[in-house]
Point group: C2
Chain length 306, copies 2
């Protein structure tokens, strides 16, 4: 009945030890640097998938550190996968999206580039009322981000796999819907989950469907973006500004050419971060429900992939 904490952040470890000591003292807690018996591990809290899930022969439940769970594609079907739901993390991502959209609207990444070149050159000033933001992905975070952007005056549209209704937000689906939205968007925000359909979506073809000079905010997953194509689009001005938080390889290696792309602001996967206490409490709550014979919360539909 042991839970393995496969994380190294001290704040997360502290939060789990305190929470389990108080709420669920009957469950032993071990960390990956300890000497534990693999067959004792029934539960694991982790962001990275294991190289070999068979190394924990009695594993029953994987508790993901984050809301995104695409990295667990190779997890055997008989193991339950639980995603993280953290309202405070949702607010962090919304703040990031708002900061990034306003920064793009006011050309901050372009000004940072001009600053590197010591060039004083002004861009026309546009207001939120004159700016359309399209949000790709209307899950919990995307929907709330759409409402927040609309509340500060942006015109907001959204795209999702299945039809959605959000007051004040024009929502579309399908390739035709995407075409229509991209043709009108001044800023495109990617908050999509990583699936077979979204892998490589942000490519040369995608950028060419956008208005010339429109901006990209990418806080989805690194594998959704073809970074060489983004570099070309930034170089040509097809994409005017970009603010990107997710990459194929993280940390981004010092040798990666992405660091030097023009009019791009790189943030190191900090759009959101699951709160340590919230995550410990969520896992504890679910294990109490299991003990009491109740359904688990926040289980991933392995067929849909989210």
């Amino acid at each position: 009945m042991t839970i393995l904490l496969n994380v190294t952040d001290q704040d997360r470890l502290d939060a789990f030890h305190e929470t389990f000591a108080r709420e669920l003292p009957e469950i032993p807690v071990v960390t990956s640097d300890m000497d534990y018996a693999p067959e004792d591990i029934r539960y694991i809290f982790t962001w990275r998938p294991l190289d070999d899930w068979a190394a924990l022969p009695n594993l029953e439940i994987v508790f993901s550190v984050s809301a995104g769970i695409d990295q667990f594609g190779a997890l055997p079907e008989h193991i339950t996968l639980v995603k993280m739901v953290d309202p405070k993390n949702t607010q962090k991502v919304i703040d990031y999206v708002l900061a990034a959209c306003l920064s793009c609207m006011r050309d901050f990444p372009t000004y940072a580039e001009r600053q590197r070149q010591k060039t004083w050159e002004t861009s026309p000033i546009v207001t939120t009322a004159e700016t359309t933001v399209t949000i790709l992905g209307l899950g919990e975070i995307g929907e709330k981000a759409a409402r927040t952007l609309a509340s500060v005056g942006f015109t907001v549209t959204g795209w999702a796999r299945s039809p959605r209704e959000i007051e004040g937000v024009t929502c579309k689906t399908g390739e035709d819907g995407l075409d229509n939205l991209l043709a009108e968007a001044d800023i495109v925000v990617c908050l999509l989950p990583l699936t077979d359909e979204t892998r490589g979506l942000l490519s040369h073809d995608f950028f060419n469907r956008m208005k010339k000079g429109a901006s990209l905010v990418h806080a989805g997953r690194g594998a959704q973006c073809v970074f060489a194509d983004l570099g070309d689009a930034l170089q040509s001005g097809q994409v005017g500004n970009a603010i990107v938080d997710v990459f194929d390889t993280e940390p981004l290696p010092p040798t990666d050419p992405i660091w030097e792309m023009p009019n791009l602001l790189i943030t190191p996967h900090v759009a959101g971060r699951t709160d340590a206490r919230t995550s410990a409490h969520n896992v504890s709550l679910n294990l109490q429900r299991l003990r009491d014979g109740k359904d688990l919360l926040w289980c991933v539909d392995r067929g849909k992939g989210y």
Copy 2:
């Protein structure tokens, strides 16, 4: 009765010619590149002060291009000074302040610096609810900016020369009031007019009264900031991030060391810009009021300096 347009932007010139042709065709309009008789000029539309106001012996009214009029300190007292009031410009500055505060809260200038150094290093994530913004200067723009920042969740305080009451915003005056506010602020926004009291205010002493690592957004006037002190404060980490829109010399010369200060985003005086049509209409409206024997709108109190 001629008006001299002492500006070079084509959009401003076009807007004045069109507006005056339609609304006030009896007033001749000349531009500074034309061959005009100085004694004909009764009115001037200008951002820069003249080197010698006596060159226009019959000048009666100076219409400022912008809301700030500190540059007209040497204007003879008998000449009326009218500032610009443009609601669309107010909205532009508010958008800029919101973009800049969110960018500082999420460490975007620091991330841009780390990007230059190709360093993947994360900062703790804070939310608007955990962030206090102090606005220096609670004129029309400052007050509206305060309300907007509060509406997205920031805790907002404000400082002004005379006592102010703004719902949801703690307002203080005087040096003690400033001390109290600076000690609590995570972000300080300068929107003050340039006066003898505010010249050089943003100095070593000021930065040391701020919390270690707090951020500065400066959209007041260049002469309010001692830029060498700002550079030291950024270098030491006393100021965590800065976004600065105004400088002593504009355009900032390529040789100026300000370009290379760390954790600083430079924008080229683009927080706001008076709308060309609005400014032409405001001047026309005031000259119609003069013709009709009514009081002029938006006259500057030369004693107070704003």
